[in-house]
Symmetry: C2
Subunit: 186 residues, 2 copies
């Protein structure tokens, strides 16, 4: 989809802050695609639509997860995870996005998954390091991402898991499975 | 099995340091059984034999894991995990331990497992806090263990996972599954 048309569609779905974040993810994902040789158009589209469902009501997301036979265990874990698979479903249904690579990158952008494609990794990492992000360690993550997308993804996963442990929150199994997959196979 | 006979059997399998650790785990497990109402004789037996296989050669442990159809994914993760299931097998075969509760507590004492019994938790926690253990946080773990065996187990699991993340090592899925199980269900 043409960039401005795509941006106009997501703008309606997001807060101003989240729209700026989306622009940051888009620019970062395109840069990373240049560095690692991924398809820039796919990266642009996946980045623009990655948070499409971010502000849908929890109840609507739960309904979609159940109706569309998405992984039921999602409902046991943080609602912060839900907008990723729900978004992949809704951008297809409501915005006419059909590229399976783009949809999959949106689907797994919060938890990752074992066996991520390069595009999946780029969206996952871009979401973590885009210029609007400010947290201890983000500069280190940005430096890693210039050279090694796997190391940058591992860094993001480690930080996410450590954060959940600190808050005594459950860790979604795919998050640790993705970490293990990258540690053992990259 | 009578305590002194059991201790004589494991003494032959362990270094002096590890034998002292075993005594510490035994005393701690008996104390915790008193606090939480577990079977002290079972706790004593499981504690005495929990590290029975600790010093078996890696090759022997790998063979047993394969031959006895234990979880194959164990071999992908740290060898430090192997002595637990291998020990449960060997104490049955070589020392005549038959109590299934004791064998299970030995089997899962390094990684934990979702749905641990009280005895499983006691051995898991006693192994972590026995008086010979010295590391930052052990006193906090000891205090937790006097009041809430689940909180003490969560503390130990969190520390173990954080340690593995810091060292860029894979986290055995049952370790995170046990953490999630206790966070979500206790």
């Amino acid at each position: 989809m043409e960039r401005n048309k795509a941006l106009a569609i997501v703008k309606e779905q997001l807060t101003e802050h989240r729209y700026s974040h989306t622009i940051g993810v888009m620019e970062t994902a395109i840069k990373l695609s240049g560095i690692f040789g991924a398809d820039k158009k796919k990266a642009e589209e996946a980045a623009i639509f990655h948070d499409y469902a971010k502000f849908r009501p929890k109840e609507e997301m739960m309904e979609i997860i159940k109706e569309q036979n998405m992984k039921k265990d999602l409902l046991l874990y943080s609602g912060e995870l839900w907008h990723a698979p729900v978004g992949a479903y809704l951008v297809q249904k409501e915005a006419g996005i059909t590229d399976p690579d783009v949809l999959e990158a949106i689907r797994c952008h919060t938890s990752g998954k074992p066996g991520m494609s390069l595009l999946d990794k780029i969206i996952f990492v871009a979401d973590y390091i885009e210029p609007g992000r400010h947290f201890p360690g983000v500069e280190e993550a940005r430096e890693l991402a210039k050279k090694d997308i796997n190391k940058a993804a591992i860094f993001a996963l480690k930080n996410t898991i450590a954060f959940l442990l600190k808050k005594n929150q459950a860790v979604y199994p795919d998050t640790i499975n993705t970490y293990n997959d990258l540690i053992l196979n990259s």
